[in-house]
């Protein structure tokens, strides 16, 4: 672990250009769908359930098999194994029943895309309809249709607690302090219910996977994935093959935001490839499929009760979360857990009772999405805090400054809070948005308002989520940096290269990140999720570069008869501060050095190894959710919004957003700001526009025409970003992650600003023009 002293750095902390930018602006960057396989390539098409809940009676493939170009067809009988990250509750293809619209029931392998599509259309599936359940609150009531009768027999992670015989796949509890007693001491108590709908990640690149099953039994999977290593282990387990026989190659990803984490459709390509050994098979989701056939963000019903003294001190919180996990909750269960252990938001609350339920429904499968439950819970927390402040007659900024969590206070899960710049972030955004000053609206039919919301988020992952890195050199003294984390736009390759260049004393252009990530040749990385790469992979990169540096300095020291402490590497040369000698890295990193007088050749190829695993994370108690170090750390931040509501149309124009996040240390400040800008706009999009409209589990708006995301014309003209740096003691140079966090406070900040403008609260996202217009009409 590092101390909190500020280190002098040359590359770390500077905004070098992205290492992947040139490839990406010239069209040279290879995404998975860009790979060329020639006439060898076969195409897979998936037959999907049109029903939300049904038993599969029969599948007739005879006609399809006779169609020109069709090579083979797979059904659930080909994929009996279970798959899932934390709870193995699904098959690659449905076996006996379908649980959501879009559940895969068969796959056609054909010589062209058209032949595969025609073949898929010729497959006849007979279903017997089963009653469905489409609301998480209804699904937990007695007598609700049981979606997974075999829940009790599924493999499950040790920190999850499914309730067999119900639709509850995980129940996370916080029992902290005397909640009833604390409410008794409160002068003001508020209760409210908030809802967030399913939304979709909408990466511009849809999911694509190409698999080839070799005659040797080895499988290669080219996959647009955030999780090459997790896909290797999960697909191997589901298919009954050795993980070492599965090789996953992850090219650049055209946006992930969580939906390309874990495994969703990739097993289909592998199962299809098994039927046509030696031939690559490509499966690519259409935009329509992308909306509901990988992951969606889980819907949430949040019931909140909160109390405070008349001085404004929050004393007690009681929360119930009902997460709509959808048909399968293999990944969503852990979102439920993360939401539970963060359920106070970034506040100190002495007494807390939380019940966070992950619930099966017959809606699309929920999974990780940017924020991992935090945008959904902060939607409720940050609005109820605003209401509480108003009821107490306190300023909303001052109320947050009074109650926000500080270093040394105990978090909701019993951890002592580490150093955090949260109050700095709050003060900064208040200043940047000119809190307390009210500009007149730009037109008579418009109303103007300001709102603020704050946030926290910890990486959610098992404590054995590891990172590994290596450094190997070339004859010219340049080096290749091996990482297993993915570049999905956030800039992970760039910051990894910066860290290695910093330690090894070389300019950025001497570092090449070894890409694409390939599980056969790249070092291990658990997954590119949880905003954990800069921190976790960064620690491994720093360790690998430090290991190589030590070997180099030891070698030169031995040759020159000097101690390594007097040596340094500057601009690609080893120098001695004592003797003022120097030697280029190119002279020694592969072929070693000759001892004086050519007596002896010493050294050889330098290879640096590094790893990191947060071994210090502790369990949380099953009954109380308490533990001394249940998560690695929290990143905190704040956003403030100024907007106008057009009272004639209900339309909201976001004029300005001020955002500040405590990233510990910005390895590349411009990349941090780019993450903030992108997150703010994605958060705004979710707050104003986005909902997957479902009717009895059937998605009604699976296209860009019907599911609107923010365009250039909607995006705020001004996003004022600030980077706060309170060093994190387990992060490289003090860094912690920030990628997901940036979208967490945006939607509630907008809701709070709309309230400020028009005096109406909305408990359910999104705040569409229609919804606002109708509310204004109702009020009038």
């Amino acid at each position: 672990m590092m101390g909190r002293q500020v280190e002098q750095t040359r590359v770390v902390g500077t905004s070098v250009p992205r290492v992947d930018a040139l490839e990406k602006v010239t069209g040279a960057a290879r995404f998975t769908d860009d790979l060329q396989f020639g006439p060898d390539l076969l195409f897979g098409r998936v037959v999907r359930s049109p029903h939300a809940h049904a038993r599969i009676v029969s599948i007739d493939t005879a006609a399809a098999l006779q169609m020109p170009g069709v090579r083979a067809i797979i059904t659930g009988a080909d994929t009996p194994g279970f798959i899932g990250l934390y709870l193995r509750d699904r098959h690659i293809l449905a076996t006996d029943r379908v649980r959501q619209v879009g559940d895969p029931v068969a796959g056609v392998i054909a010589s062209t895309e058209q032949a595969a599509e025609d073949g898929a259309r010729a497959i006849r599936v007979e279903y017997e309809l089963l009653p469905g359940v489409f609301d998480p609150f209804e699904a937990v009531q007695a007598g609700a249709p049981l979606i997974h009768p075999d829940l009790g027999s599924y493999d499950v992670a040790s920190f999850l607690y499914p309730r067999p015989g119900t639709n509850i796949s995980h129940h996370f509890r916080i029992r902290k302090g005397d909640v009833d007693g604390a409410f008794g001491r409160c002068d003001t108590i508020l209760e409210d219910t908030y809802r967030a709908p399913q939304i979709q990640h909408v990466p511009i690149e849809t999911h694509v996977a190409i698999a080839r099953w070799e005659q040797t039994g080895e499988v290669t999977l080219w996959s647009a994935t955030q999780s090459p290593f997790a896909q290797r282990s999960m697909i191997a387990a589901a298919m009954g093959i050795e993980p070492g026989n599965v090789r996953v190659i992850g090219n650049y990803i055209g946006g992930g935001f969580g939906c390309k984490a874990g495994v969703t459709m990739e097993g289909l390509a592998v199962a299809m490839a098994r039927r046509v050994p030696g031939r690559p098979v490509k499966v690519r989701l259409t935009r329509e499929e992308e909306f509901f056939c990988s992951f969606v963000r889980q819907a949430l019903v949040a019931k909140v009760k909160i109390g405070a003294t008349r001085e404004g001190k929050v004393l007690a919180l009681q929360v119930e979360y009902y997460w709509d996990g959808g048909a399968y909750t293999e990944y969503g269960t852990n979102i439920t857990r993360a939401a539970g252990y963060s359920s106070t938001g970034p506040y100190f609350v002495p007494s807390v009772m939380t019940d966070s339920y992950c619930v099966y429904t017959n809606n699309p499968t929920g999974g990780p999405m940017r924020g991992f439950g935090m945008p959904e819970i902060h939607w409720s927390i940050e609005q109820v805090m605003d209401r509480l402040a108003e009821k107490l007659g306190m300023d909303r900024v001052q109320f947050r400054l009074l109650n926000c969590i500080r270093e040394g206070q105990e978090t909701v899960s019993g951890m002592t809070m580490h150093a955090t710049g949260l109050s700095q972030c709050i003060k900064r955004v208040a200043k940047d948005i000119q809190w307390g000053e009210k500009e007149p609206p730009s037109a008579p039919h418009k109303l103007r308002g300001k709102g603020i919301a704050i946030m926290w988020k910890a990486p959610a992952m098992p404590r054995n989520a590891a990172s590994e890195a290596w450094v190997v050199f070339n004859e010219d003294g340049t080096f290749n940096l091996g990482v297993g984390g993915q570049e999905l736009g956030q800039g992970s390759f760039t910051v990894a290269a910066q860290m290695a260049a910093e330690v090894l004393g070389v300019p950025m252009d001497r570092v090449r990140v070894a890409r694409p990530v390939d599980t056969r040749y790249s070092p291990y990385e658990w997954q590119t999720v949880a905003s954990r790469l800069t921190w976790s992979m960064g620690n491994a990169v720093r360790a690998a570069a430090t290991d190589a540096r030590k070997q180099i300095l030891d070698l030169v020291g031995r040759c020159w008869g000097e101690t390594p402490a007097d040596l340094d590497i500057r601009n690609g040369e080893v120098i001695s501060y004592k003797s003022e000698r120097s030697v280029g890295l190119d002279k020694l990193v592969i072929c070693g050095l000759s001892m004086p007088g050519d007596r002896e050749l010493i050294g050889g190829p330098i290879m640096g190894r590094g790893r990191f695993m947060p071994t210090y994370v502790t369990d949380l108690d099953k009954e109380t959710g308490q533990g001394t170090h249940g998560m690695v750390h929290y990143t905190t931040g704040a956003e403030a919004v100024e907007l106008e509501v057009d009272t004639a149309t209900g339309q909201v124009e976001v004029l300005r957003v001020a955002a500040a996040f405590d990233v510990g240390k910005a390895i590349n400040p411009e990349l941090v700001k780019a993450q903030i800008e992108g997150g703010v706009v994605q958060g705004m999009s979710s707050g104003l526009f986005e909902a997957l409209r479902l009717k009895n589990g059937e998605p009604l708006n699976s296209s860009f025409v019907d599911y609107r995301i923010v365009t250039t014309l909607d995006a705020p003209q001004e996003i004022i970003t600030a980077v706060v740096e309170t060093a994190q003691d387990d992060g490289p140079w003090g860094a912690r992650g920030v990628g997901e966090h940036t979208m967490v406070p945006t939607a509630p900040a907008i809701a709070n600003a709309i309230y400020d403008a028009i005096g109406i609260r909305f408990n359910e996202m999104p705040l569409t023009a229609e919804k606002i217009y109708l509310a204004l009409a109702h009020k009038a």
């Binding site: 990406k24 602006v25 780019a674 706009v681 995301i709």
Partner: protein, 153 residues
């Protein structure tokens, strides 16, 4: 499906290819000419990732039949740089940090190129209007708009 022999100029090079009647220009570029810089995001003309210049005009290549491009001049992202020199827009996208995942970037660049060719000094509003058909999920657009402003000088 009937096939047609068509001739077109792609990034300055003349190509003669046989295409099926129902092939799109996007399929021709990606699957036949291996110009994979042009991306397929929705196949429905809604996301703009497949934008190319057809006789100088930006089009969603997924909505143009390949046979419609017979005799046409097509520019893709691979054709933006000349003689080893990046188009000023490409350089500005690098300098302003307008690239994240990079999947929308080729389409953005071509829509922006069409804009600057017909209007060398657009206002911010004009830039935002010209790029409204190109969806980006990563950047929040601010740096893209700034890059176009910078390239316009």
């Amino acid at each position: 499906m009937a096939t047609h022999s068509i001739t077109l100029t792609v990034n300055g090079a003349k190509e003669q290819v046989d295409v099926a009647s129902n092939w799109t220009l996007l399929q021709l570029l990606r699957d036949r000419l291996a110009l994979t810089g042009t991306k397929n995001g929705c196949s429905a003309g809604e996301c703009g990732a497949c934008t190319v210049l057809l006789n100088g005009e930006p089009v969603n290549s997924c909505l143009v039949l390949a046979v419609e491009a017979d005799g046409a001049n097509v520019v893709t992202v691979e054709g933006l740089a000349h003689d080893g020199q990046l188009d000023p827009l490409q350089q500005a996208f690098i300098d302003e940090g307008a690239v994240q995942c990079g999947f929308c970037t080729p389409g953005m660049l071509l829509s922006a190129r069409a804009l600057l060719t017909r209007n060398p000094h657009p206002s911010e509003r004009e830039i935002r209007q010209a790029l409204v058909g190109n969806l980006c999920r990563c950047t929040g657009y601010a740096r893209i708009v700034r890059a176009v402003q910078k390239a316009a000088g």
